[in-house]
């Protein structure tokens, strides 16, 4: 009970700090989304939501209808993957449709945000590599179920952030060509 309560408090503190920081940035930059960007972000949310829904249905159909001799994912591993897939779909759609950054002063340079995502992705892949070297196995299988471990989470996060970074670079190149 004690450790869970402590973790809950920690989560509240982190969410509070991030919310305050975001609000401060929003007030200072006056950044907002124009009408096309709002529409696009709405579509991105819808697509991400339905992607997650479809994956969930496929997962449960696979788990419940196929015989237990088939290899399957642990529910917690699937949920983590689902979150990263949703995040990647939402961000990639917004980046490709130019609705990731709003209108107004941007402290972030749009040219470097893809580098940032690729860097984050690289950190996760480095963590993945280190975990493998330390002897963690890629697949811990128990009764035909792939159990979640840190290695898989790092790999999934690395792939998701790399996808976002690559979309950013594609958009950047397309914009450069458009401006020329």
């Amino acid at each position: 009970m004690g450790i869970y309560f402590f973790m809950f408090i920690c989560m509240l503190v982190v969410v509070g700090v991030v919310a305050l920081f975001s609000y401060g940035v929003h007030v200072n930059t006056g950044e907002h989304y124009d009408e096309r960007q709002k529409l696009s972000r709405g579509k991105a949310g819808t697509i991400a939501f339905y992607t997650m829904e479809v994956l969930t249905v496929i997962y449960f159909l696979y788990s419940d209808t196929l015989p237990e001799t088939y290899l399957r994912l642990d529910t917690s591993l699937f949920l983590i993957m689902l979150l990263f897939v949703g995040l990647a779909v939402f961000c990639c759609y917004n980046i490709l449709h130019e609705s990731y950054f709003g209108v107004g002063k941007n402290y972030w340079s749009k040219n470097y945000y893809s580098v940032f995502w690729l860097l984050v992705s690289g950190l996760y892949f480095a963590n993945y590599r280190l975990s493998l070297e330390e002897g963690e196995s890629i697949f811990s299988i128990k009764n035909g179920v792939i159990i979640m471990n840190g290695v898989q989470v790092s790999f999934v996060a690395g792939v998701a952030f790399m996808a976002i970074g690559i979309c950013g670079i594609i958009r950047l190149v397309a914009n450069r060509r458009q401006e020329e």
């Binding site: 124009d34 009408e35 096309r36 960007q37 130019e98 950054f101 709003g102 209108v103 914009n175 458009q178």
Partner: protein, 64 residues
């Protein structure tokens, strides 16, 4: 359908897409999408564009 009249009016004022976007408080890609006919702006944005380019709604957006 491409909005060539908007593009011509912008060029006549010697404004880049970025400059017009700043005047209308939208992103450059939104102006680009309107010119290419990929996005239909709301009446509020149409008015803002017309004011920025000193044109009427008919001159820029009315289809004959």
């Amino acid at each position: 359908m491409k909005n060539l009249r908007l593009k011509a009016a912008r060029a006549a004022k010697d404004l880049s897409q970025e400059a017009l976007a700043d005047l209308c408080d939208v992103s450059r890609q939104t102006i680009s999408a309107i010119e290419k006919g990929d996005y239909n702006p709301t009446i509020n944005l149409c008015i803002a564009i017309c004011k920025a380019l000193d044109k009427t709604l008919d001159e820029l957006f009315w289809e004959e």
